[in-house]
């Protein structure tokens, strides 16, 4: 009796969290609309922005997924020294603060970048990073790591025994592709594509810096302009709703496309398989080297430029850095609590609705969310006292979908493998968390925490909305730029990048060692 009551309560935990999340995201939207006394109609430029947003998100997501396949395959079937480190490093662009990434991309692909300088010496036409191609280049730069990670996970999810059986039956690489890899890709690709699509749907700074002009305006940018330029909260709310509708539509479509992979669980025997040789080996080598060049070069460029100035940064930068780290850690903590509650709820009930709610933050506009919260809470607390807590809360919520992507499958496996055992032993509540859930899910929890911390570290969108006398590190970076101090800004960028990456690495590593 007690156990069944507890079971019900626990699944309610997930549902309640999901409901709160949906209420928050839709409620803030409603608050903005209410403040504006209704929704406003959209102009022709807004419609163009919607069209461009969808178009660039489709292209960016498709390109990221396509390019990720050979890279993930090469990483899955080759073993070389430093492979683990490379996989971790290749993930870095995803957690890079946007402004830092753009600095890096420009120094490689810009008019004065190394590539164009090379092309000029060879008398070849130059590449332009400005315009839609720049937006897509930057989006692929950010999201290729995400796609590679998700697809690599797919490869790792094919049980070792399948490869062993294939080997014993003398499968050629083509047969492995046909019987093992293609069914896996069929199952994994829609999810990977969707994740990138959704991230690109809310892109803001990238489009603004590299878009080349109003032709490359995204919906999120239109929301910002509605706030900043027109004070038209009604239009902001309408655009926010469109963004969410696009998300829900995309998610429903991909649900329909996705076919669950039929790969039972396997013993995680250490792999000792030889990858195919010959030209395939060469191709894998090229894929890995090209991906590493594309993803690591811009970061290296940022580091080389900023590193010499770091020692000259004033003390207040370090204070801001410490403040950012504390906020990022708290954000990560809450992100893990929320996503774990949701993931366990989803594993228990299999509810699609909870999952959908968990993915909503991915497309909720941080601007609408922040402004809505502000409207809802004003009058109760001083806005200045709200700035940091709201920033922490929004960052935690924004990191949720990424945490969920790794936690949901892990929670499902946990339930499938040990759920009945735990129930028969009546392990519940705290001891279930302490002895079953935390140890078994340590890896995905560490990964989710690291991701949340890094994303919160680089956040600028939310914090900039609120008045504060306590700047964070990204804000500090902007202040440098605003005071003509580009050298200090690039030092700040290195600091920001290193801290973000260190936070991610520490959490991820911690999860692995736990």
């Amino acid at each position: 009796m007690a156990a069944s009551v507890f079971a019900i309560r626990r699944s309610i935990g997930g549902a309640l969290t999901a409901a709160a999340l949906a209420a928050l995201i839709l409620g803030t939207l409603a608050a903005v609309a209410w403040q504006a006394r209704g929704l406003s109609a959209l102009g022709p430029w807004d419609l163009r922005a919607i069209w461009f947003t969808i178009w660039q998100a489709v292209v960016s997501a498709s390109l990221s997924a396509l390019l990720a396949i050979p890279v993930a395959r090469a990483l899955a079937r080759r073993r070389f020294p430093g492979r683990g480190l490379l996989i971790t490093l290749l993930g870095a662009p995803f957690i890079l603060p946007v402004i830092v990434a753009i600095m890096g991309l420009i120094s490689v692909f810009g008019r004065n970048g190394l590539i164009n300088e090379g092309l000029r010496t060879l008398n070849l036409p130059e590449l332009s990073i400005y315009g839609w191609q720049g937006v897509i280049l930057a989006h692929v730069f950010f999201n290729l790591p995400l796609s590679v990670r998700l697809i690599l996970q797919g490869w790792h999810s094919i049980p070792f025994e399948r490869f062993r059986l294939a080997d014993s039956l003398d499968f050629r690489p083509r047969d492995i592709a046909h019987h093992l890899e293609r069914p896996m890709l069929r199952a994994v690709l829609p999810g990977a594509w969707l994740a990138v699509f959704l991230v690109c749907l809310t892109s803001f700074t990238v489009a603004l810096a590299l878009g080349g002009g109003p032709k490359a305006t995204t919906v999120e940018l239109a929301i910002y302009q509605a706030f900043r330029f027109d004070f038209d909260l009604g239009r902001a709310a309408t655009l926010g709703m469109i963004q969410i509708a696009l998300c829900v539509l995309a998610m429903l479509t991909s649900r329909w496309i996705t076919i669950p992979a039929e790969f039972g669980s396997g013993l995680d025997l250490s792999r000792n398989l030889r990858g195919p040789t010959g030209w395939r080996r060469l191709m894998d080598g090229c894929a890995i080297i090209l991906a590493a060049l594309f993803l690591l070069w811009p970061m290296l460029a940022v580091i080389l430029r900023g590193l010499p100035q770091i020692s000259q940064l004033p003390a207040e930068v370090w204070t801001a850095a410490a403040r950012s780290v504390i906020m990022a850690v708290i954000s990560a903590f809450w992100a893990v609590i929320l996503s774990l509650t949701l993931a366990l709820g989803i594993a228990r009930s299999g509810s699609r609705l909870i999952e959908l709610a968990g993915m909503l933050p991915l497309v909720a506009s941080p601007l609408v969310l922040g402004t809505g919260l502000f409207i809802l809470l004003r009058g109760t607390v001083s806005p200045q006292a709200l700035a940091l807590p709201i920033t922490v809360a929004i960052n935690a919520i924004m990191a949720l979908p990424f945490g969920l992507r790794v936690l949901i499958p892990a929670a499902r496996d946990l339930r499938r493998n040990y759920g009945r055992l735990a129930e028969s032993l009546d392990i519940k509540g705290w001891s279930r968390l302490r002895f079953l859930i935390l140890p078994q899910l340590a890896r995905p929890i560490g990964f989710a925490a690291g991701l949340a911390a890094a994303l919160a570290m680089g956040d600028l969108g939310v914090i900039a909305l609120f008045p504060t006398d306590m700047p964070t590190l990204p804000l500090k970076l902007y202040q440098f730029m605003n005071s003509y101090r580009m050298a200090e800004a690039s030092a700040c960028a290195v600091l920001l990048m290193v801290i973000s990456f260190a936070l991610f690495w520490l959490c991820d590593r911690g999860g692995r060692l736990a």
Binding site: P159, E161, R162, R164, L165, A166, D167, S168, L169, D170, F171, R172, R174, D175, H178, H179, P183, E262, F263, G264, G266, N272, L273, R274
Partner: protein, 232 residues
């Protein structure tokens, strides 16, 4: 003759040594405590593991460098012998052509072996719709079709009940007798060894010993095996 010449393989702090020979067409049981290295021995022969030293030789041909699928060997694992997303006929057909482009004659061959294992009419079933015994039969049908001179069995019937297991062993007996297959079978059960294999390799203390007559070994087991079998 299947020869393991001065083999040594290390996995972590576990070392397995083997220096033995098995006559073609014989059936050999492989017995030993859990973790003694029985499966390692089979992986070595099948080519999933490369030895640090020594050679694997079949009838004078050195197999040590060959890929698993290129060896004259079929293997049945404990589980995961079938692809869950393919039908019974497809799973069997893989034994002929991994790309499954089977011509008329080959399709007939698949149907024939299906009938031979008593599953005619099951060709379109997927593994999830087959019982454990039926799944084993499908795997056996593929062995039949591939007709490799060496068959390695890594406890493939461990999960089946006694009646089903003896049924499988009987079926296996027919198949391998017809083809004169050299069989190595890992087993926990001394009775299986006695019933199926005239000779037995004892894997104990990091060494796979030269095969000896099963009956003699069971009647007068050395200390390590005695403990494992729970004999006084």
């Amino acid at each position: 003759m299947l020869e393991l010449r001065d083999i040594q393989v290390t996995r972590g702090d576990f070392i397995l040594k083997a220096d033995l020979a098995i006559n073609p067409g014989t059936r050999t049981a492989v017995i030993g405590a859990s973790g003694s290295g029985k499966s390692t021995l089979l992986s070595l022969i099948a080519g999933f593991l490369a030895p640090e030293t020594g050679r694997v030789v079949w009838n004078g041909t050195d197999l040590t460098e060959s890929a698993p699928g290129k060896r004259p060997i079929s293997i049945l694992f404990q589980d995961q012998n079938l692809f869950p997303h393919l039908t019974a006929a497809q799973n069997i057909g893989l034994g002929l052509r991994p790309d499954l482009r089977l011509d008329r004659a080959q399709q007939d061959q698949v149907a024939a072996v299906l009938a031979q294992v008593g599953l005619a009419g099951f060709s379109d079933r997927k593994p999830e719709n087959l019982s454990g015994g039926q799944q084993s039969r499908i795997a056996l049908a593929r062995i039949l079709l591939r007709a490799r001179p060496i068959l390695l069995l890594d406890e493939p019937f461990a999960a089946l009940g006694p009646a089903l297991k003896s049924e499988m062993l009987t079926l296996l007996d027919q198949i391998t007798a017809d083809m004169g297959t050299t069989v190595l079978m890992v087993t926990h059960d001394p009775n299986d060894a006695r019933a199926f294999a005239p000779q037995t390799i004892l894997v104990d203390d990091g060494v796979a010993h030269q095969p000896v007559a099963t009956a003699a070994l069971m009647d007068n087991p050395p200390a390590g095996l005695k403990d494992y079998l729970g004999l006084p």
